[in-house]
């Protein structure tokens, strides 16, 4: 059903979508993706990240229900970690997404991070495109909740929501984690708990440092003056919202903030960010394609002898790699340097 699969996905056939997602995960979907690409670009992709236990799954569920109430279709990609020891995974996000069961306007897919060498972002992008081509209007990507893979996945989203919970560290923790750089919207979930106001305040004051178009001075918002003659580019200042996802509190406001960010992104004169994202994706794909090619072209018996030489201190690792490159591209050695 190879050719049909593309057609079935475009028609929104759920089993075909599920099947193609499996093929995407197995890195064998390129012929399909090439055809589907033309039909993508309509879905709005929202990434949801934050520490484990901050309530991401519950928030995703509440947001999805909000979109469903508006008649919008929603796909969810819920990422959980692969065990580095066995290669297996327990994917348990569906437990908290129980309320969405039985709604044919929602499609939930659990995804294990697997061992892909930085390939997680690519797989996620490809899965998003399958949902996009199948006609889903929103794609919500919920990340693992720890580590660098967060940032990798979140870069594929159009709007990134960072979820915090009260009492999860001081404001310096927030800077260290780098979450302020990636957040388009900050959410303090579980804000019925003690310490919520403090967390909100800490996040707001950290944001001011990073967004110099306006500043709070004794509680008043003031425009900062710019000495350079260049016009100040309009800047998105991430709002800090408060929610109690289990009670649906603050969810309409969150959805509104997503729409505001969407309007902001789409209102940018030339979507420079879209170009940067396309560039990042292109370079990533080039890296992995070249790497794959190198592995295929290098004689299979060069690695072990090279290791022997390195361990015997006969050659340093970079020189060995340079030799490999020279072997692979003998005509291009003059460009070294």
């Amino acid at each position: 059903m190879s050719n049909d699969l593309t057609e079935l996905v475009l028609a929104g056939n759920r089993r075909a979508v599920a099947r193609l997602l499996t093929v995407v995960e197995a890195q064998e979907a390129q012929p399909y993706l090439a055809k589907l690409f033309l039909h993508t670009g309509r879905a709005w992709v929202v990434g949801i990240t934050g520490s484990p236990g901050s309530g991401k799954s519950t928030l995703v569920t509440a947001l999805a229900r909000h979109y469903r109430a508006q008649g919008k279709t929603v796909a969810i990609i819920a990422v959980d970690p692969t065990s580095p020891y066995s290669g297996g995974a327990i994917l348990g996000d569906r437990i908290r997404m129980r309320d969405l069961a039985g709604d044919s306007g929602v499609f939930i897919r659990s995804m294990a991070t697997r061992g892909s060498l930085g390939g997680l972002a690519q797989t996620t992008r490809d899965m998003i495109r399958v949902f996009d081509a199948a006609g889903f209007e929103y794609v919500l990507v919920e990340t693992v909740g720890a580590g660098q893979s967060e940032i990798e996945i979140v870069r594929v989203a159009s709007t990134t929501i960072v979820v915090e919970a009260p009492g999860m560290g001081d404001d310096i923790q927030a800077i260290k984690a780098g979450i302020l750089e990636i957040a388009d919207i900050l959410v303090v979930n579980k804000c019925d708990r003690i310490g919520a106001a403090q967390t909100v305040r800490a996040l707001r004051s950290m944001l001011e440092i990073g967004h110099p178009t306006r500043t709070s001075h004794h509680g008043q918002w003031m425009e900062t003056s710019h000495t350079s003659a260049a016009p100040v580019p309009s800047m998105w200042v991430p709002p800090v919202l408060q929610t109690v996802a289990t009670e649906n509190r603050g969810i309409p406001e969150l959805a509104e903030a997503v729409e505001s960010h969407r309007a902001f992104r789409q209102g940018q004169p030339d979507d420079a960010e879209a170009r940067e994202r396309a560039r990042a994706e292109l370079l990533e794909r080039m890296n992995s394609a070249l790497l794959k090619m190198a592995y295929t072209l290098l004689p299979s018996d060069v690695i072990e002898p090279a290791l022997d030489r390195i361990l015997a201190k006969q050659a340093d690792p970079q020189s060995v790699v340079d030799d490999f490159v020279t072997t692979l591209f003998p005509d291009k050695i003059t460009r070294q340097g």
Binding site: R15, I90, L91, A112
Partner: protein, 136 residues
């Protein structure tokens, strides 16, 4: 290492709240390198069928300790058939009296694993099952 880990849905249909067995199995299958989608408690047959469809699983494992297996299992099978998952096998674990095994197998259950079954046995069974499916 196989390229594609087996994907297994572990679900608890009906009203019983004893999920320790299901969790032990989920963990053992993860340790065997499988991707286990765990749905949690109190799933209806339709919810299980829909989850199996969306997750494109190779096999569905049902854990039942309520005694309602003769009612629930055929309903899950029907719900799965209704969404075109007739080819996805079901295995059952939990408290299933010997006398009911034949009836369940008549409803297309691939295997029944009672208390005391080694997790290795279950792992090997699923591996054989998915290997056979991948050849098709």
């Amino acid at each position: 290492m196989s390229r594609k880990p087996a994907r297994v849905l572990i679900a608890k249909p009906g009203l019983d709240g004893h999920d320790r067995g299901a969790k032990v199995i989920a963990r053992a299958l993860r340790d065997a390198g499988m991707e286990v989608i765990y749905t949690g408690l109190r799933q209806t047959p339709e919810m299980i069928a829909e989850a199996a469809l969306q997750e494109d699983v190779d096999v569905v494992g049902l854990s039942i300790l309520s005694g309602a297996h003769l009612t629930l299992v055929p309903r899950v099978r029907e719900a799965m058939n209704a969404v075109d998952l007739g080819d996805v096998p079901i295995i059952v674990g939990g408290i299933i009296p010997e006398v009911d095994h034949a009836a369940l197998k008549a409803h297309g259950v691939a295997a029944i694993f009672g208390p005391g079954t080694s997790t290795d046995t279950i792992r090997d069974f699923i591996n054989d099952l998915t290997a056979a499916r991948n050849v098709e």
